[in-house]
Symmetry: C2
Amino acid sequence: MLYGNAIIGQSGGPTAAINATLSGVIRGAFAAKDVIGTVYGMRNGIEGFLAENLINLTEAFKNEEDLRILEQTPSAALGSCRKKMKSPEADPETYDRLIEIFKKYDIRYFFYIGGNDSMDTVSKLSKFAASHDYDMKVVGVPKTVDNDLMVTDHTPGFGSACKYVATTVKEILRDVSVYTIKAVTIVEIMGRDAGWLTTAAALPKISGGKAPDLIYLPEATFDPEKFINDIVEIQKDHPAVLVAISEGIRFADGRYVGEGMAARKVDAFGHVALSGAGKVLEELVKEKIGCKARSIELNLPQRAAAHIASKTDITESVSVGKHAVECAVNGETGVMMTIDRAEGEEYSVTFGSADISGIANGVKGVPAEYINDEGNGVTEACIRYLAPLIMGEIDTVYEAGMPRHIVL
Amino acid sequence: MLYGNAIIGQSGGPTAAINATLSGVIRGAFAAKDVIGTVYGMRNGIEGFLAENLINLTEAFKNEEDLRILEQTPSAALGSCRKKMKSPEADPETYDRLIEIFKKYDIRYFFYIGGNDSMDTVSKLSKFAASHDYDMKVVGVPKTVDNDLMVTDHTPGFGSACKYVATTVKEILRDVSVYTIKAVTIVEIMGRDAGWLTTAAALPKISGGKAPDLIYLPEATFDPEKFINDIVEIQKDHPAVLVAISEGIRFADGRYVGEGMAARKVDAFGHVALSGAGKVLEELVKEKIGCKARSIELNLPQRAAAHIASKTDITESVSVGKHAVECAVNGETGVMMTIDRAEGEEYSVTFGSADISGIANGVKGVPAEYINDEGNGVTEACIRYLAPLIMGEIDTVYEAGMPRHIVL
């Protein structure tokens, strides 16, 4: 058994569930008090750790209520960073400094909650510690609204973002359907290389029956001519057309639609700025069809809207954090926690771990069988995959009419 | 006592509470069954009425549960229109047609739920009916997220939009605070001529302590130089600056900021398209300060997000609908329902009615005492006015992980 202290960091883009995982790791570490002493947090990820910017979480979370509020607080309570670690050969000073701080605080358990870059940090750190005879268990816990990590069935944070997208698209569908004139509304959803979050726009179909008319993902080529023709056809049936797109959709030649087609914006000095894909398609509709067009970029709220978090997601995010501690205490290192879905009709998951070297820097896109043949919608199989992830609502604690958050 | 049937219409831009008012009118009309026979709805406002596109609401709402779901369904369940009625002198055919349909369906009670243009319709209709010896009670019920109607303390729909804005800004504040680099985030909120909804961005201050650093409303002149200087000063204290603006903020010369300053977008044919105010300020920050900048347009969700509706707003919206029926049955016509706030510390309201001619086409802006001296924030008095309007959460019924809506 390895005795010592633990440290937890958060990295990469925020999600509505990243603090639920933080809470899970804290709960797990408290439960493992026979082997784990003090639980520290690093502010602003590995960047803050290098500056010895730590917080004593054992002190900060003396009561259960605070952990509950942490679980409903969006974004990274410990702060985040976007640091991509170099290899120990390229940057030996940084690694020497890390070992120095590990020793100073007797850190024997290192938990890092993040996306692809964070898993790369876990991979490098675990190898370095092992090769320098510093016994430390390094475990990565995934989070990303992009759902693009390998091996795991889905990522913590994805389900809550899906619930926000599904609910918001359902509400927008109601809003745009009230008038009788022709109009096209384009909802732009996060996802540069993987269209997972955009697929959630299809979910209103299973509650109310109405869903976007067209859905475009980066995994399928975007054909602007077919896009316009499809809209013209749909408007023969109903005037208000709703389109959901990923920010990263591309033309056949590989260019991002968001890099512009017709639309160019010129600033005071003649510099060309890039528009988002939604804006580009809005202009295209105005030009080619001439009807009213509007684009809506869901923007930061889709990853921060903890007030409409999925109970399934939050529960799993806490559990995966707890399991990360169990794995570390059992001696695992250099692994990422995974969520494994059981076969069968009924949704259920177990938690596992996988060697991180096969995961870091890989990207899992939406598979072909989840996209329809025309490349402008998703299949029933995709909806069956998504539907359980948004189930359930958390019992949010409100204060002055707004969800209460914790500040560390 | 005037015996006959009733009709209800919805008009103007949707809100999260306009169906709660519809439910209130239906409940009121059902309760007044001694005088009111069948309750009809007109599809797409007065436009649909003229096409005799009616729905029998007495048939549609046989049970309580459906009314409850209606109250949590955003946007106008009956559809809407943007028709501005001409005067009877300018368009006698339309008024003759109206009277014809009123007689055909024995309509004696006419309820119109909407904003300024809708109240103008109520005013014209009530005068026309009276001057043509057609006994019909015409009552307007206000709704608008803009809160810009005269006489009433606030408008149904405003509180829910405020709760969405306050919650979303609070979540965005968490999101943008995780990194250590300098960044400016600009949140653009609805309000072309009145900044009411933007003032709600200040509410996180009373829950969590952190609020936008700068708030700009159309009621105060926007000075771009002071804006940049203010940001530079704030960034000496903390790197992440959050700015909330109304879409309709203007320069000293009266031009909308959204009409562009530096930013011009040129389409394939060289036409200049307008950017939103947020996008213009984002470009300005990038140019003048050179730090990361992002703009977020809250867009349609701010008026459609019934999933985070204010219980205070929804309860009042139902009540004001019920009271509209009571007023009509008591013989009032040509009036708009009002919400009157009682004096004193404790928030409480009563419902009244006011002659519509003093209301229609007037605009109530945010008063000077709600805006700080520098014109870049709101006062404590403003927050005291707003705070009660977002209190309470509705007990939303979910289906497949999304709020259930009703389709008429």
